[in-house]
Amino acid sequence: MIEAIGVGLTYPDGTTALKGIDLQIASGEVVYITGPSGSGKTSLLKLLMGMEYPTEGSLKVLGQAIAEGQESGIRKLRQVIGPVFQEFKLIRGRTAMENVMLGLRFLDFTPGKAKQRAYEALVKVGLEHKAFSPVENLSWGQCQRVAIARAIARKPVLILADEPTGNLDRENAINILNLLTEAKEKETTVLITTHATHFIEGKKNSMLIRMYRGNICCERLG
């Protein structure tokens, strides 16, 4: 699923975000990535999304190399990824339903099927009653759920969630983490970054990646 060999990332301003990362993640895994701010969590997700390219080593996601000149392949790869962005990236002026459907329109669905999938995803996140509300009328937590619904509606092979627990209290944070791991299909791999390790206490059958200053340390939970 994900294969990184000696991956490093240095930004044009000279900041080194990741150093010599070796990583293998199998299909269906749930992976929590933790670490303090600036440890490289978001940079790692950006690499996996093809938003940045490794400046060292090689990285493959679902067999697709993440490198310059691979734009067409990376675009196709993004179509099977369900991203949950830290700032949600929902489209203002559109309803929750329209936002969820946005991620489905250019995939191989008829309009009816896309609508059905979007609605089912909103049901899964408990927001069916807000399906036709413009997203600017929703609370922070509800927007987060819409973003998750947009990611899971595509039935993606890989879910990448960047700090989905940010700014949430303990109870809501745990709910969101549970939602992400429970709403997924069996074969879907989920990578969740969070700076708060206490939210993942007691998690089983999953992998924990601790990050610190661009380095990683992996351990198995449960």
């Binding site: 938003m51 990236k89 489209i91 946005l102 991620g103 329109r105 250019f106 191989d108 008829t110 309009p111």
Partner: protein, 298 residues
């Protein structure tokens, strides 16, 4: 699923997005439609003029007949002899005599409602003449020979009018080409600028779509539709102005001056609407694609 099917499935979404893009910058878009409409109108007027002058030339060329006026005192035998000699010239296709009554009747036709003015004359003021149908290629040589024939007083032809219309048509043709180029460039710039502005205003949405893996044609389609809608709206404005102008021109010229050979009004209007629609569509799509492509590069 084929790209075409995806486009058809999402047509409602594309139109809704285009509507939102237009509404988000309504004043700029309305002004764009007006400016495109006025630019197209200038072009449309030149094309209308060109079409009318071409039609006039066509009619006049088709009607390459000359009138040979001869001495009134000539006997009938002499006139018959002159007629035969003219018929024998190279380039003369046919000849016949137009008598006084026929000349009078023709003038009545030309004057139409104003023909009553002829009743002011006590006698028929027209003289008989010989009319000859000639091959345009031989026009100069026929003229030279006719001038030297005995009994010929003067020759009336439409060469001067033909030359003038040719000149006007030539000028309109050059002007039309220049204006066509100006229309194309200015519409391209106007449309591409407004598209770039729309792309800039919607850059966050575009970025999100890219992160979700949307293909570039899917992202660009609503912007291309926006350009097409703007130019078609501009074209509609031009079509309305053009129809009013053509109707106005015909009521000013065609009725009081019926002898001017204008093309049929309905045909001219249909032709101009077709030209304006095609021009709007081509420039709208072209300008949008140019705007999308330049925005992507920058």
């Amino acid at each position: 699923m084929s790209i075409m099917r995806k486009i058809i499935y999402n047509m409602g979404y594309f139109f809704a997005e285009s509507k939102k893009i237009i509404q988000s910058n309504l004043m700029s878009n309305v002004l764009t439609v007006i400016s495109i409409g006025l630019i197209f109108f200038i072009f449309s007027m030149v094309i209308t003029g060109l079409k009318i002058s071409n039609r006039m030339m066509e009619i006049i060329q088709k009607d390459a007949e000359i009138q040979i006026h001869y001495d009134d005192k000539m006997s009938d035998d002499k006139v018959e002899e002159l007629l035969e000699r003219i018929k024998g010239l190279d380039g003369v296709l046919d000849t016949w005599i137009v008598d006084e009554e026929e000349a009078y009747r023709r003038m009545e036709d030309v004057l139409g409602k104003e023909a009553d003015i002829l009743k002011l004359f006590d006698e028929n003021p027209f003289s008989p003449f010989i009319e000859a149908k000639i091959d345009l290629a031989y026009m100069d040589s026929v003229f030279n020979k006719l001038e030297h024939l005995e009994g010929v007083q003067y020759i009336r032809d439409n060469r001067e009018i033909l030359e003038r219309i040719k000149n006007i048509s030539g000028i309109l043709g050059i002007l039309g080409s220049l204006i066509a180029a100006a229309v194309a460039v200015s519409t391209f710039i106007t449309v591409s600028h407004i598209i770039r502005q729309g792309i800039y205003n919607n850059r966050e949405q575009i970025n999100t779509l890219r992160l979700l893996g949307a293909p570039e044609p899917f992202i660009g389609f609503p912007f291309m539709l926006e350009g097409l809608i703007l130019t078609l709206a501009g074209g509609l404005l031009t079509a309305i102005l053009t129809v009013f102008s053509i109707n106005g021109f015909y009521s000013l010229v065609a009725t009081p001056l019926p002898f001017i050979p204008l093309p049929p009004r309905e045909h001219l209007i249909e032709f101009m609407i077709l030209v304006i629609t095609c021009l709007s569509a081509i420039l709208g799509i072209g300008g949008s694609l140019f705007g999308i492509s330049s925005a992507r590069k920058s």
